[in-house]
């Protein structure tokens, strides 16, 4: 029975931990999609680098590549001078890297203490008896993060913040020289965020190199030494937090520049007293995490409402609750009648149609077949007429009628998704992040199509976007959704001044 002496990360030994993470030319492709392109960053010992970017920018992928959970197509990752790109994750972990995942993943059948002990175990098959040192060490780590009262409980019984503490405890137990932390503050209250920030600072002061990923610069600006901003897989800016927040490209990507808005005042809509759609104090929980907290919005018939919010804010959850895919507390009403209890398919047939973030196209079917399926509830003549109208709206779909949906470009797929939804002649069209991953030129086309829709029909639109340049110009009203709550409501023109500060 060996007794392993684990080097605890006490300050006396910080000289030991000359940490250094260096990444160059890192590239990752998933099929045709380039998720990360030529990424370069470096983090010194005792420093924190913030990696920020909107949803789809590739920051989580960068973390996975460094940790070996995904293999890079090209590039180099050096930990303490050792090249580890392409290694399996367990080897990289033993090399001195650790990761705190965005979503807590404890072992559900083990106690908190056992979860932490696991992180302290060596990778050996011969350990039949527990090392007594490990027990003490695990308890010490638990004390450091504040888990002592719940050591003998199972994760299923614990509140959200405690689960996050378990993740940090596991990371500390590994005693990593390089620590990757993915969105540490999502779902935490202000006090909890404070406590976590302090913990992260302590870990930095131990002499580790920390890479912190988040989508909100403000929340990490106090913690980090430098910030690197990403967009669509590439770095767009690097510097101190203030420098990055002032950077032109970053502001454009996050806030949009000055723009024309075409808002109609709320009083101009006929259903003043009973808006077409009412979301009333809706809350949604995913396990322990609160995805929506007492959210209330309303949309008038014929109105175009944009919900602006970053990744993780809760837009998709809200839309899925409206469309009937999720259980929720509170009420959702359509023209005064509650939607509770209706199946998702019924809600769609009755006129609330969603274009989800994932598009959900039938990739092996042709463009035409996808559209036909959208129109299956209509008599054949009406369906054909609707298709003709849509081909006018999106001419490229006409050209690609016979092509399989999976072979279209991203922008064309998005147009097909919208067109297919429009085949159902919806009263309310919900668009969830239609611009995700699309080039500006395509955004133009979609934007024009939406404009035409808005002008020629009386369709009601609920748009969820983090791309403000897209979300504001068509909107009559804007909501800002942040961390499960509505934090601002108002006219688009007032957004940059009012809601924008909450946003970036």
């Amino acid at each position: 029975m060996n007794i392993s002496v684990s080097t605890t990360a006490s300050t006396t030994e910080s000289a030991h931990l000359e940490a250094h993470l260096q990444v160059t030319g890192l590239t990752k492709r998933f099929g045709g999609l380039v998720a990360v392109k030529d990424m370069a960053l470096s983090v010194q010992a005792g420093k924190i680098l913030g990696l920020i970017g909107p949803n789809g920018s590739g920051k989580s992928t960068v973390m996975k590549l460094i940790m070996g959970i995904e293999r890079p197509n090209a590039g180099s990752v050096r930990i303490n001078g050792v090249e580890v790109a392409g290694w399996p994750s367990h080897k990289i972990a033993r090399m001195g890297a650790g990761i705190v995942f965005q979503h807590s993943r404890p072992l559900h059948r083990q106690t908190v203490l056992e979860n932490i002990k696991l992180a302290l175990l060596p990778d050996k098959l011969t350990r039949l008896f527990a090392d007594p040192h490990i027990d003490d060490h695990a308890r010490a780590i638990a004390a450091r993060v504040g888990l002592t009262p719940v050591l003998d409980r199972r994760p299923g019984t614990l509140p959200f913040a405690d689960l996050r503490k378990i993740e940090i405890a596991k990371a500390i137990a590994r005693d990593p020289k390089v620590l990757l932390i993915d969105e540490p503050f999502a779902g935490l209250t202000a006090t909890e965020t404070e406590a976590f920030s302090e913990l992260i600072c302590e870990l930095r002061d131990d002499g580790r190199a920390i890479l912190l990923v988040d989508h909100n610069v403000k929340s990490v600006s106090r913690l980090v030494d430098r910030v690197l901003a990403m967009y669509v897989g590439e770095r767009i800016a690097e510097g101190s937090a203030e420098e990055v927040m002032r950077d032109e490209t970053v502001r454009r990507v996050y806030l949009g520049g000055s723009m024309e808005t075409a808002a109609r005042p709320e009083s101009s809509f006929s259903d003043r007293s009973t808006p077409f759609l009412e979301v009333d104090n809706v809350s949604v929980f995913y396990g322990k995490a609160q995805a929506l907290e007492k959210v209330s919005i309303h949309v008038h018939a014929g109105e175009f409402v944009s919900i602006v919010g970053l990744n993780g804010a809760g837009k998709t959850t809200l839309f899925n609750a409206i469309s009937g895919f999720l259980p929720y507390a509170g009420d959702i009403r359509r023209q005064g009648g509650s939607l509770r209890g209706r199946t998702a398919a019924t809600i769609a047939r009755n006129g609330i149609v969603q274009c989800p973030e994932g598009r959900e196209l039938f990739v092996d079917m042709t463009v035409r077949e996808n559209l036909d399926l959208g129109g299956q509830h209509l008599p054949p003549a009406e369906s054909a007429a609707q298709i003709a109208w849509l081909f006018e709206l999106f001419p490229i779909l006409n050209a690609r009628q016979k092509q399989a949906a999976g072979t279209l470009s991203g922008g064309e797929q998005q147009m097909l998704t919208i067109a297919r939804a429009l085949m159902m002649k919806p009263k309310l069209l919900i668009l969830d992040e239609p611009t995700l991953g699309l080039a500006p030129v395509i955004l133009e086309q979609i934007s024009k199509a939406l404009e035409k829709l808005r002008q020629t029909t009386d369709i009601t639109v609920l748009l969820g976007e983090q791309n403000v340049t897209f979300a504001l110009p068509h909107a009559d009203r804007v909501y800002v959704l942040e961390h499960a709550r509505i934090v601002w409501e108002g006219e688009p023109a007032k957004f940059a001044a009012g809601g924008g500060t909450a946003y970036l």
Partner: protein, 308 residues
């Protein structure tokens, strides 16, 4: 289960086993025979539960490992008549090799493919046995010239203590640090890798442990029965009964497998008056358990509120 320490549970188990050792004084040789078979099946179920809990996937062909061990031992005895313990050891070794061969493709796939791989393994073994009749006795089965003993009581004690020791080892393993790593590998391979554990190495180890005990028990069973056949050791229905025993007893409890096996054998016996219908009823009851009480006996006992 988690509230009692491993040592406590093992001590309780020891007490139960000692008590059971007195059974031959009370019951007939027929019942002893049933219990003997039940104990061997208990080992099959425990070995299956180990793999299930650790690989995180369902092995539909435990009888591949059992059959390999059993037939190797039996054929060896028929051909060369070495001492029984040599045959049994050879059987266990063969099963381990079989486990490694099975693990290689099985570990590379997930979900239904894993289950199918294991099912295919059983089919292959079954076909091989039937086709190569001169060596294996084909459909009729293999008889071995030696048996361990003809005394019911002795056979019973051997089976009982074999099960006890196997159970103790398997249970201690599941509760040990290695067991913790194996559970993590099965439950969340990405996390386990990020914590520095070579998941493939550990899953392969889980296969080997399971194979060893399955093959060993299978070989011993051959020398108890004096014979081996596809119908008693390899057929899919046998595999299903093993899985049911483990599920009935409670998945991931290891020791529950024995309870399940004893229950199943007892049920089959109790329903014997129904004649050929007894099989139907046993499987019907098993189906009811799967549909309504997926947590098994131990699940009912510990009354866990969330799905286990």
């Amino acid at each position: 289960m988690g509230s009692l320490s491993t040592t406590r549970i093992l001590l309780i188990g020891l007490g139960v086993v000692i008590a059971l050792s007195f059974l031959p004084l009370k019951v007939s040789g027929y019942i002893l025979g049933l219990m003997t078979i039940a104990y061997y099946f208990g080992v099959f179920a425990m070995a299956w539960d180990l793999l299930f809990g650790f690989a995180g996937e369902v092995n539909f062909g435990p009888t591949f490992l059992i059959g390999t061990g059993a037939y190797t031992a039996g054929i060896l005895d028929n051909l060369y008549q070495p001492p029984i313990f040599v045959c049994v050891a050879a059987g266990a070794l063969a099963a381990v090799l079989g486990g490694v061969v099975l693990a290689l493709p099985a570990l590379r796939v997930r979900g239904p493919y894993f289950g199918l791989t294991t099912l295919v393994a059983v089919l292959m073994l079954q076909n091989f046995i039937v086709v190569d009749a001169s060596l294996t006795g084909g459909e009729i089965g293999l008889t071995v010239p030696d048996v361990i003993t003809i005394s019911d009581a002795t056979n019973y004690w051997i089976a009982l203590w074999f099960m006890a020791i196997s159970g103790a080892i398997l249970f201690a393993l599941s509760r040990s640090p290695v067991g913790l790593i194996l559970q993590a590998s099965g439950q969340d391979a990405v996390q386990a890798g990020a914590l520095g554990f070579n998941v493939t190495k550990h899953k392969l180890a889980a296969f080997i442990f399971s194979a060893f005990f399955s093959g060993l028990a299978g070989a011993m069973l051959v020398f108890y029965l004096g014979s081996a056949s596809v119908g008693t050791l390899v057929d899919i229905t046998i595999g299903v009964q093993i899985i049911i025993s483990a599920v009935l007893g409670g998945r991931r409890t290891i020791l529950g497998g024995v309870l399940g096996a004893v229950f199943l054998i007892a049920m089959s016996e109790a329903l014997r008056p129904l004649g050929d219908l007894s099989n139907f009823v046993v499987f019907a009851m098993a189906l009811v358990v799967v549909l309504l009480f997926p947590s098994g006996f131990f699940g009912l006992l510990t009354r866990s509120r969330e799905p286990s």
